[in-house]
Each structure stands twice: as structure tokens, then as C-alpha cells.
């Protein structure tokens, strides 16, 4: 019954969409609307000094969206840590029969700094080549994840991650407030010197913001993975009763 209703709903929806706009969408080059993306391409070098247009948009022109995005990740990390509750400290050995064995055990530890280095490189070069804080941070967290998955006894301190997270977040907001204090009176304005195009130290606050973002993302994802795999050093041992007692709501 549910499936029939669901199917009818979807079919009518599909019909609705197709009848209204599909024909227009299928043209390759529609009547060229002058988009802000094109404006951004033109404005990137004068206004931000970055070579990567997408970075200029993400960090500078639409910096508030990025702050929001970072906040959403922050929310998820808090949410997962909060909701993991009892199983955050339980350890992987309840979930997996055996760990990875010698090769995985030491191999991941060997590879961890290399992966982290690549991640850091991507973060640092966000304004010059594709990448930036988000992919770079994810990569660094992947290194952590590899170690956690293959070493069932390994524990990571979510407290430490929380400190890093908080500091990085404050750094982002602080950099934004710099804009408010200067003469431009605008949150997240790019107030540092733009430097020369193509150099690592250029584009004003963009690399700094991406560094903060990368650190934050890495810390947050590590917290997420730590809570979900039960490798939290700071959570107590799991209590025997799995059901929560009711409280006042």
C-alpha cells in the first residue's frame, strides 16, 4: 500500500517536473544569462589575489556560507558525540572479531604522516589549485581513521579534538571580526595584503581561513569517527544497562 502511494507520488512529481522545465534544461547553451559566476571569474584576481576562483568565492565572496558550513560540521560532531553516549568508549573489539594483523597495524601508522602531509598540502594550496580546507581536512581525518580502524585498542581523546576544534573555530570567527575592526567595517573582509598571484603566501586571509577550516574539519571528522567506532579515550566504559532511564522532558 505504502509502495503504491509512494510510486504514484513519485510519478506525479516526475511528470510535474518534466512538463514544466525539462525541455528548457536539455538545451546545452541556454540564452546566456550573465551569472555572478562569470563576474567572479573577472573579480577574483583584483579582489582576492587567489588563482582559484572557486576558493575566492567560497572563502571571500561567500565567506558567510563557509562559516555556516563549518558550523554545520561542528553541529554534527557535537551531535554524534552527544548521541553516541554509551558506546563511544566501548571499543571496536565488540564490533570486530579481530583487528588488522601486523601489516595493517603498522602499515597504517607508517602511512599516516604521509597522508596527513598530502592533506596539509591540499589545505595550504587551496587558493592556488583545486582543494582547500575541506578536502584537505577530510584527508587528514582519513589518516586518523585508517589507524583507528586497524588498531582496535587505539584510543583517541575527543577532549583534545574538542580543544582543537574550538580553537580553530574561534580563529575563523576571529579572522572575520578583523574585518569588522578595520576601516572596511565588514565581517570577513579580506584585510591582509594580497601579495603576488600564484605564490603560497598570497591572497590575504584566504590561506589562513582555509588553514583554520582544514584543522577544524580534520578534528571534527576524527571526533565523529572516534565516537562511532567506540574509540573514545574520554568516554567512560560502557554501562551494562543499554536502555536509558527516563528523565523529565
Amino acid at each position: 500500500m505504502r509502495k503504491v502511494i509512494g510510486f504514484l507520488l513519485i510519478a506525479s512529481f516526475a511528470f510535474f517536473i518534466v512538463s514544466l522545465v525539462a525541455r528548457d534544461l536539455w538545451i546545452d547553451d541556454p540564452a546566456q544569462v550573465r551569472t555572478i559566476g562569470q563576474a567572479a571569474i573577472g573579480q577574483t584576481i583584483p579582489q582576492s589575489g587567489a588563482a582559484n576562483t572557486v576558493t575566492a568565492i567560497v572563502v571571500q565572496f561567500r565567506g558567510l556560507d563557509t562559516l555556516g558550513e563549518v558550523t554545520v560540521l561542528f553541529l554534527s560532531a557535537i551531535g554524534v558525540a552527544l548521541l553516541s553516549g554509551e558506546f563511544a568508549g566501548r571499543g571496536l573489539n565488540e564490533l570486530f572479531a579481530d583487528d588488522g594483523g601486523f601489516i595493517l597495524h603498522y602499515g597504517t601508522r607508517l602511512v599516516l604522516p604521509l597522508i596527513a602531509l598530502v592533506g596539509a598540502y591540499i589545505v595550504a594550496h587551496g587558493h592556488l589549485s583545486p582543494g582547500g580546507g575541506f578536502p584537505g581536512g577530510v584527508l587528514i581525518a582519513t589518516a586518523v581513521f585508517a589507524v583507528l580502524m586497524t588498531n582496535v585498542q587505539q584510543r583517541l581523546s575527543t577532549r583534545l579534538m574538542a580543544v582543537i576544534e574550538g580553537l580553530a573555530g574561534l580563529a575563523f570567527v576571529g579572522l572575520g571580526t578583523l574585518g569588522l575592526l578595520g576601516d572596511k567595517f565588514s565581517f570577513l573582509a579580506n584585510v591582509l595584503p594580497k601579495g603576488e598571484l600564484g605564490f603560497l603566501f598570497s591572497a590575504g586571509i584566504i590561506p589562513l581561513i582555509y588553514a583554520a577550516v582544514g584543522t577544524k574539519v580534520a578534528a571534527e571528522l576524527s571526533t565523529l569517527v572516534t565516537s562511532l567506532t567506540g574509540s573514545d579515550k574520554d568516554a567512560g566504559p560502557a554501562s551494562v544497562s543499554a536502555g536509558g532511564k527516563g528523565g523529565a522532558r
Binding site: E69, T71, L82, G244
Partner: protein, 521 residues
């Protein structure tokens, strides 16, 4: 003049700081200080905007449309004031209340996170009312939604988790629709600023504007609890900790509704009036009728919220400025009344350990102040003179009559019908509060009607009767108490509905520029 960006920056920075420090005491003080500061500044911004007109805020020193269009006008400033004030009051209530809100492993650390989540919920709401850019709107909307998903599941009991998941699934589907709408808008307009999109959609082929409007409304409508997208609400608002229920019913769904209405009018050029009006009235009918059958207090209140949102949406869907004005009045009243009702219900639950209305029989004897607050707020919600609720509802009926349309007349009938139903279930609760355990009820322990109220079904809390024994006794209060701090919040909300009634002309005047701004961008 302090930049209104502090409304975003301060809650975020405080949340980061709270997580960094990790101590509960720091969390409480920091969040109270931050929100108090914002609540203190809010009236100044409101006054400034009323005097000098809308304030545009430039972000990153980049002008729209390349940058994000952001600003504060009468509507935004009014809501900022409402959100900041409600947030502060509920925070005051939360400080003593939250330690009791969940007995689970790691509850102490969880409390710190509660405050961070609360602050982020506020930040999301502030951003939502201030932004003039459609993608920025989406980002703040997600911040608001995700923090509320997590807060609903805070106590980590089975029903809270379930409510959270259901809410989350529906919310995610809605967000996906919104993104599609945003993509289509960008394609047509080449810009993400709402003014540009509005212009482009006005000249685009007809199908476009309608499709974008429908997709967007589906997305936002889930959060604004428009029928039939509101199936998540009863579970979510009743399973959340009471402070969060107060916030969700008190301003979150209202903010979503108003932002949706404003975007509908200014960007899509249409609010799809007849359809929205019909859905609104359907919501009133379904919500109020469902509330009638509920045995748990918070679920009753949650369904009542559905009904009230329907009334507000109906007022907005009349498409006139006086309709908007009336709707905003109803909104303000609902914030005060429903927040008070939820906060007091949290207290009832805390002290009796039960969610069921029957468990509160005779409670008024032991906690007269609480029962009085509850009754006053309930009276206003129903719309009794001389409370705020009477004037706002009456105004809506006036406007509906003036509209002289089928929808208007149907609306009057439905609202009156809804009012009667509301009166039945709310007064039933008040009667239980003030009633004693009668001899008849004590004798009929097996499913007969209770105290002549006509409520069918078994006696909800049989332990009550076994403890009660003698007909004149009252439920035992076994649990902790809430200090006076919490009552400041309740008193303030109730004061709003009292003052609103007596000082209605003043509120009327204050709301007018806000209503005018609803139709502008």
C-alpha cells in the same frame, strides 16, 4: 552602532568557546551572557530600523550580487528581538531544568553540549531572518534544522530518538527540494540574491516560477509545520526536553513560516494563496481534533501548535496587509502562550514523573503558581478576553470577513470551530489541575469516564489511584523542584499575553511596520 553581525558571530564564538572549555558552569554563564547581550542590543536595532529604514549589511567587503546580500529591516529586527528575548528566557529556565532532562551515560558532558547546540539554534534563526540571499538562507536553515534534530533527541530515550529520526528524514527530503529550487533559480537568474531571483522569475516562463515555488515551499513547509508536512511535529515537540519544546513551538516554526511567506510574496510573486489557505485550514482542523484525543500533556500542546500555525498561515494567505498584521499578532501571542505552557508542563513532568494529564489531577493545590500560569496562558491561547489571544484571533476573523471570499468565510467557520475544540481540551486540562480525586473516580478504576469530563479510556496512571487512596488526596510529588530562576521565564511569557491584552493598541502599532516589511524585501 554595533554591527548586527554580532548576532551571528557571538553565538558561534561562544559555542566554540563552550566546547573548548568543556565545563558546565562556563557553558551556562557564557551562554547566558552572550544571549543577554544580544537581547539587550535587539531593541536598539529595532528602533534604529524603525527610524531610519532598512539597514543593509555588507559582508566581506563585497557587494551583492557577487557577495551575500544581508540586511536588517523591520521584520528582521522584530524577529531578532523576539528570538533573542525568548532565547534568553528559555535559557534561564534551562539552567536548573536541563540536569533533570535526561538520565543517561555522559549526561554531564551532554549538558555542556546542550548550551552549544542552543546557541547555534539561535544563530541559525538570526541568520534566517536577516539574509537576503537564497543560498545563505539554505545554510542558516540547515544550521537551525540540524541543531533542532539533535536537541529533540537530547534525552536519548527511545521515543526521543525515534522522533529525532523521523524529523530528520523529513527535514532532509525538504532540504533536497530546496536545493533543487535554488539551482533552478540560479539558472534562471544568474544570481543568488533574492531581489534578482524575484525579477528573473517574474519574466521567466510560467512553469519555472511555479516549480521553484512549489519545491521551495515543500522544503520550508516541513519546518514550518504546514499540513500535511507536519507529521513529525507531535513526536518531536513532545519528546524534546521541555525547554526545547518551548523554543520549537515558540519561535522556530514561526520563523520558518514567516520567512516562507515573505519569500513567497517577494521572490516567487505568489504564495499560491488558495492552496495555502486550504492547507492552513486543514491544518487547523486536523491539529485541533487530534489534540482533543490526546492523553499526554505535551502531545496535546504539540497538536495545538499545528492548529495555531494553521491559523497564522491562514491569516497570511489572505494576501492583504491587514491579514499579515493579524497573523503576526497571533504569532506573537502564540510565542508567549505556548512557551509558557511548555515550560510549565516541563515542571509538571519533573515533579510528578508522568506525562499523562490524568497524573496532574489536583496538582493546583500543591503548586498554585504553576497551575495559575498554565491556566492564564491557556486562556489566552483559546482566545478569551481580555487576554492577548482574544484580540489577535478577533482581528483575524475581522480581516477574513472583510475579504469576502469563500476562503475567508470558510476560515471564519474553521477558526471558530477550532476555538471551541481548543476550549474543550484546554479547559479539560485546567479542570484536572484544579479538580480533586472524586469518590466516583476513585471507585471506577476500570475505564469509566473520569470526573464527568467525558474523556474515554482507562485511567492513565493507575499508580496515582493506588497511591491516592482517599478521594481528597493529591498526587505525590517525589522529585526535585525548580528554583525561582526558572519561573522568571514562565512569568515573563505569561506577562506577555496579559500585557498584550491590556495594551493591545500599543502592540498593534508596533506590529504595523513589521507587517509592512513582510511584503517588501
Amino acid at each position: 552602532m554595533v554591527s548586527p553581525m554580532i548576532l551571528i558571530a557571538l553565538p558561534l564564538a561562544t559555542a566554540f568557546l563552550i566546547v573548548l572549555i568543556g565545563s558546565r558552569v562556563a557553558a551556562r554563564w557564557l551562554s547566558l551572557a552572550a544571549v543577554a547581550l544580544l537581547a539587550g542590543l535587539a531593541p536598539f536595532w529595532f528602533a534604529e530600523v524603525l527610524r531610519n529604514g532598512p539597514m543593509a549589511i555588507v559582508l566581506a567587503d563585497v557587494l551583492p550580487p557577487l557577495g551575500i546580500a544581508f540586511g536588517l529591516d523591520a521584520l528582521s529586527a522584530g524577529f531578532v528581538l523576539l528570538i533573542a528575548a525568548s532565547g534568553l528566557l528559555v535559557l534561564l529556565y534551562s539552567v536548573p531544568y536541563i540536569p533533570h532532562a535526561g538520565q543517561f551515560e555522559g549526561a554531564k558532558k551532554a549538558e555542556t553540549r546542550y548550551y552549544a547546540l542552543f546557541l547555534l539554534l539561535l544563530a541559525g534563526s538570526f541568520g534566517l531572518v536577516m539574509t537576503r540571499d537564497i543560498f545563505n538562507l539554505f545554510v542558516f536553515f540547515e544550521i537551525l534544522c540540524i541543531s533542532s534534530y539533535i536537541l529533540v533527541a537530547y534525552s536519548q530515550e527511545e521515543r526521543s530518538l525515534e522522533a529525532g529520526i523521523k524529523y530528520m528524514i523529513l527535514g532532509s527530503i525538504g532540504s533536497a527540494f530546496m536545493l533543487v529550487a535554488i539551482g533552478l533559480s540560479y539558472r534562471v537568474a544568474g544570481s543568488l540574491a533574492m531581489t534578482d531571483i524575484g525579477q528573473a522569475l517574474a519574466t521567466a516562463p510560467h512553469g519555472y516560477a511555479l516549480l521553484v515555488a512549489v519545491l521551495f515551499t515543500l522544503g520550508f513547509g516541513i519546518e514550518a509545520a504546514i499540513f500535511p508536512l507536519n507529521t513529525w511535529l507531535p513526536d518531536a515537540h513532545s519528546s524534546a526536553p521541555s525547554s526545547i519544546s518551548a523554543v520549537l513551538s515558540g519561535f522556530v516554526i514561526e520563523v520558518a513560516l514567516v520567512v516562507l511567506v515573505r519569500i513567497g510574496i517577494t521572490v516567487f510573486g505568489t504564495l499560491m494563496e488558495p492552496a495555502m489557505g486550504v492547507l492552513a485550514l486543514a491544518g487547523v482542523v486536523v491539529g485541533e481534533l487530534a489534540a482533543l484525543g490526546q492523553k499526554e500533556l505535551k502531545r496535546t500542546l504539540a497538536f495545538s501548535s499545528i492548529g495555531q500555525v494553521g491559523i497564522m498561515l491562514f491569516a497570511f494567505s489572505l494576501g492583504t496587509q491587514s491579514g499579515d498584521w493579524a497573523g503576526l499578532g497571533q504569532l506573537l501571542m502564540h510565542t508567549g502562550a505556548k512557551s509558557a505552557l511548555f515550560l510549565v508542563s516541563g515542571y509538571f513532568i519533573l515533579r510528578t514523573g508522568s506525562h499523562e494529564i490524568e497524573a496532574y489531577r489536583g496538582l493546583a493545590r500543591r503548586m498554585p503558581a504553576a497551575a495559575a500560569f498554565f491556566s492564564l496562558a491557556a486562556l489566552s491561547l483559546v482566545g478569551m478576553p481580555p487576554f492577548f489571544g482574544f484580540f489577535t484571533k478577533f482581528r483575524i476573523i475581522e480581516v477574513a470577513a472583510a475579504a469576502r471570499s469563500a476562503l475567508g468565510y470558510a476560515g471564519i467557520v474553521v477558526i471558530l470551530f477550532g476555538t471551541v475544540i481548543e476550549a474543550v481540551y484546554l479547559f479539560r486540562i485546567v479542570r484536572v489541575l484544579y479538580g480533586g480525586v472524586t469518590a466516583a473516580a476513585a471507585a471506577s478504576a476500570n475505564g469509566a469516564t473520569i470526573g464527568g469530563l467525558g474523556a474515554p479510556g482507562s485511567i492513565a496512571d493507575s499508580t496515582l489511584l493506588s497511591v491516592a487512596g482517599a478521594p481528597s488526596s493529591v498526587p505525590t510529588l517525589a522529585r526535585a523542584d525548580l528554583p525561582a530562576l526558572a519561573w522568571i521565564a514562565v512569568a515573563a511569557f505569561v506577562a506577555l499575553v496579559l500585557v498584550g491584552g491590556f495594551a493591545f493598541p500599543w502592540f498593534d502599532q508596533a506590529l504595523q511596520p513589521v507587517a509592512a516589511a513582510l511584503a517588501a524585501l
